[in-house]
């Protein structure tokens, strides 16, 4: 018979988030500190689900103005044109570089949205104490953490276009308020991914096993 899987928390052991030292926590209440690195240590952080939801909702709210408001104005002698994120993608496509247009579309539109849906899905399944496809959900979380940074792409694009196209009055580029909301989406989704604790995915399976005993 294979030995039963046992989680650290069930044995009274807690992993330090900073140095990954495994320590035995006393049964008494109150704060505990890692003996190696001195940071606070607990079985699970408090209010992980609430905090992650708050960050996701904030990001979802910012996602709307980030896509509706213009992120940049291009000024030439004869015209001034305001571009949203999607306008930038279309412009890239029309000027003949569809692979780049696709990359920007994925990084700026698909990844932030996919991150929001993926994290919401993980939170809902954790709250419903789902025990299905744990491994897949663990992989999904790792994917979210891995690709999240690429949504910063458009922030860099706008920054360097603005920094370079500074030849007033011949031509100039100025950032517009949409980019602030877009940057906020990037930061909030990164914080949301960091705040989620993937161990919650496995907690419900383990409490289920104990109940059946």
């Amino acid at each position: 018979m294979t030995p039963r899987e046992l989680m650290a928390m069930q044995s009274g052991l807690a992993l330090c988030r900073h140095c990954e030292l495994l320590s035995r926590l006393p049964a008494t209440h109150g704060k505990n500190y890692c003996p190696r690195c001195g940071h606070e240590i607990s079985f699970r952080r408090n209010n992980v689900i609430q905090r992650t939801w708050a960050l996701i909702i904030a990001a979802a709210i910012c996602y709307i103005p980030a896509n509706i408001l213009p992120v940049m104005t291009s000024i030439t002698l004869t015209s001034a044109e305001e571009d949203t994120i999607i306008d930038g993608v279309i412009l890239l496509y029309l000027t003949g570089s569809w692979p780049l247009a696709l990359i920007v579309l994925i990084a700026s539109v698909v990844i932030p949205m996919a991150k929001l849906f993926a994290l919401a899905y993980l939170l809902i399944t954790v709250q419903r104490r789902s025990i299905k496809s744990n491994r897949e959900r663990a992989k999904l979380y790792r994917l979210v953490e891995l690709i999240g940074r690429w949504s910063m792409l458009d922030v860099f694009v706008i920054s360097f276009v603005v920094a370079l196209v500074q030849m007033k009055p011949l031509m100039a580029a100025e950032p517009k308020s949409g980019i602030v909301f877009f940057a906020a989406v990037v930061v909030l989704t990164i914080f949301a991914a960091q705040s989620f604790d993937p161990r919650l995915i496995w907690d419900s399976a383990d409490s289920m096993e104990n109940r059946n005993e």
Binding site: M7, L100, V104
Partner: protein
């Protein structure tokens, strides 16, 4: 110490890590998270790569990335110039974010890795501030986005290319080299090895530590 169990940081499963052969790695048997590696000399290589990356980083930031020439005028920008123009245009938050991800976080990560590795080589056990720095290194690594910036620069170049003539600067080549060195350093750097050498702060008088007592958890739950 193969006897002392570890907990997977991603799924909290207690397990024993076997003695790993060189270049071997151990994955969590439940969720597949990378738990340990055995790369002999990894931190030696990381130190060499970090020093190389630091030198290239200075060059990448000191020289212009690219310039634009139109109607007899020329403009150029450095890496921090991108962040600074944003700031001046009234977008302080975006400017600060670009500065953080493009300059501050990569520089901080390299700087900390160099200090930590040198301190761990010279002092055994390593002083406890090394542990504090390792914590900051992890934070900085998450926000260091040189490779995303590089792609962003390329997209920006293509957007500008039909407006005016674009001149590629020394900073661009240095940035390319920096990204390669930075990635190689980050792969080699092994904070777990440093952690085993760090002097304990001993802040947990209220807590007994597990590492010496072997847990017979498999037997206990059979």
């Amino acid at each position: 110490m193969p006897e002392s169990p570890v907990a997977c940081p991603d799924c909290d499963l207690l397990q024993h890590i076997p003695v790993l052969p060189p270049q071997g790695k151990a994955l969590c048997c439940r969720c597949g998270k990378l738990l340990a590696t055995n790369k002999p000399g990894a931190n030696e290589r990381a130190l060499a790569l970090a020093i190389g990356a630091a030198i290239v980083f200075v060059v990448a930031n000191a020289f212009p990335l690219m310039g634009l020439s139109a109607a007899g005028r020329e403009v150029d920008t450095t890496i921090i110039g991108g962040a600074w123009t944003m700031w001046q245009e009234g977008h302080q938050f975006t400017g600060a974010l670009v500065g953080l991800c493009a300059v501050v976080a990569p520089a901080g990560y390299i700087g900390i890795v160099i200090v930590v590795l040198i301190a761990a080589r010279r002092h055994r056990p390593a002083p406890s501030w090394v542990g504090e720095l390792l914590h900051w290194a992890e934070l900085a690594q998450g926000w260091a986005m040189a490779e995303v910036m590089m792609l962003g620069i390329l997209v920006a170049l293509i957007k500008i290319a039909d407006l005016a003539t674009v001149i590629i600067g020394v900073g661009m080549f240095a940035t390319g080299a920096f990204i390669a060195l930075f990635a190689a350093m980050a792969i080699n750097f092994d904070p777990d090895e440093i952690w085993t050498q760090v002097q304990w702060t001993g802040g947990g008088a209220r807590m007994t530590v597990n590492s010496t007592q072997t847990i017979d958890y498999q037997e206990a739950k059979k």
